[in-house]
Amino acid sequence: MRVLIIMIAAPALAVLHAQWLNYPTPGIPRLSNGQPNLAAPAPRTQDGKPDLSGVWNRLSPKYRVNIAADLKPEEVQPWAKDLVQQRTENFGKDSMGALCLPLGPQYATDADSTGGGMMKIAETPGLILILNPDLTYRQIYLDGRALETSPNPSWMGYSVGHWEADTLVVESFGFNDRTWLDSSGHPHTEALRMTERYRRRDFGHLDLEVTLQDPIVYARPWTVAVRAELAADTALLEYVCNEKSGDREHWVGKASDETKSAVKIAPEILAKYVGTYVEQPKLWRVVPRVVEITFSGGVLFGDMDGRGKERQFARSETGFSGFAGLAIEFVKNSQGVVTDLLVKHVSGDYRFARQR
């Protein structure tokens, strides 16, 4: 029997082996320039099912902040709305992230302040694992077992899954009531049931629909759509929350303090900031983030990454705060034309170039 041996010369890859954060994922379809072919067809496992395996960057800027964004106010119990108000006013300092506790159902829609959240999916026929950077894991059983009728409430819940054509349907129940559904603090009870529908559209894109049902808090079940981009050629970086020191007692003040110390800036100046600003460079996302600055009723608003309009409070003629307390700064050229917006971070500013 003749054996065909294929030699592949890839000298550049030897250097990249050095760092797993930049390690080429073996066996994925690539373009001629070596980049992953994100538009290639979705792969299948040995038993013919869609293969969801990989490191994924979940994009969920809007629902991470407000899971109930698409619900009408009257569809949320008044006590729940009060709780959200209170939690936001306290800067979310009792959130799971701040307390180093698991996020529970929120893992499905969670993202950081840049709108992205990493996860790794490992798939076997009877069990699918979702691994998170904070070292929590979810087990999704596809072995035919049913969810229990009265489970012991847990942080991560209990999940079973089955295939409907090429969509993985995951049903979860048995969450304890101690987690929030988003960073604003929307609550849920132990009655919460969550259904997730995962569909790998093509090699690089995963669509996810999350349906939440908790009749004690929310008048009806509702569905939010989130998507994920394949984070090829990289790995999860271990994040041990308990290791990060920082004293919550120092989180003083209230969110509404911001309005009290705002500076008055003339409307003609504010109006000049209106525009669409696109992130340069686009970080690790396939599509860059966009900030929309609008001006109405004498107030400047910013919409970051589709999250919804947030009021911007002036600190100076060019400096504002409003994206969950983050400072922004408008940059003008020598002719006084606004060219860029900077989102200020201790680790370095994110730059958004004005397109219109």
Binding site: L99, G126, E148, N152, S154, L236, S245
Partner: protein, 265 residues
């Protein structure tokens, strides 16, 4: 890639969320496993094979007793040779009833300690095996956590960010899965009552051999020139926990650490 690191609180002690064994999945018959005529799992059946022909290590496993407290308990004199600083540190830790154990502050147990069960109750590991990746899921007495073992041919990262659980690569050596791990942050403890030290230069090898359906050994080598004059080995037996699954465990912060110890030493 930028990550926003959340600012956490200062924790000094833990309360472990104990879960009463009421949930039925803790008594759910694992589908597709060999059974005897009375319906019990046949722990003496041969080692199963994965679809790719390799031994299948999948299952929920519990270690033999006491290795969590003293990994070196079976060693003969002279097999464990600590450097002088390590000897002093180990003696101090043992004398202070593991008071400064990072696990008390909810840190991950480290490798290989994370594999071991404790005197207070089973802390099993669950092996989920695929050809290019083996995932180890852990129920610890700190937080539930996991390790990824990459079998895709990659080598160790050069100058990696040090972590509690290291970076693990695996390969098959006949019927044994050999897992090599480096990249530790040097703050791990090898075991608990004894407090054997581990440094950033540690290279831990775990050789997993499933002897039959219900029994597996992990043959552990600690090669840590930062703390030990020579590598040392411990063979730890594991038994299958049939028809059950891991319970989640999470530390919840509590400010007052001092209450953990009734006597200052």
């Amino acid at each position: 890639m930028k990550l926003l690191i959340l600012v956490g609180a200062v924790f000094l002690a833990i309360i472990v969320t104990g879960a009463p064994l009421a949930a039925q999945w803790l008594n759910y018959p694992t589908p597709g496993v060999p059974r005897t005529s009375d319906g019990k799992v046949n722990l003496s059946a041969p080692t199963p094979k994965a679809p790719d022909g390799r031994p299948d290590l999948s299952g929920v496993w519990e270690s033999g007793n006491q290795y969590f407290n003293d990994l070196a308990k079976d060693l003969k004199p002279g097999e464990l040779a600590m450097l002088p600083w390590a000897k002093n540190l180990q003696a101090e830790r043992e004398g202070r009833d593991h008071r400064d154990d990072p696990m008390n502050r909810c840190m991950p147990p480290g490798v290989p300690r994370i594999n071991m069960t404790t005197a207070n109750g089973p802390h099993p590991l669950k092996i989920v095996q695929t050809p290019a990746l083996v995932v180890l899921l852990y129920e610890t007495s700190a937080n539930s956590t996991f390790r990824q073992v990459f079998l895709d041919g990659r080598t160790f990262p050069k100058d990696p960010q040090p972590t509690w659980l290291g970076y693990s690569i695996g390969r098959w050596d006949g019927g044994t899965l050999v897992v090599d791990t480096t990249g530790f942050n040097g703050r791990e403890w090898v075991d608990t009552a004894k407090g054997h030290p581990q440094t950033e230069s540690a290279h831990v090898t775990e050789r997993f051999t499933r002897r039959d359906f219900g029994h597996m050994d992990i043959d552990i080598t600690i090669d840590d020139p930062g703390a030990y004059e020579k590598p040392w080995r411990a063979l730890v037996p594991f038994h299958l926990l049939a028809d059950t699954d891991l319970i989640e465990t999470y530390c919840e912060n509590e400010k007052d650490h001092v209450h953990e110890y009734s006597q200052e030493k």
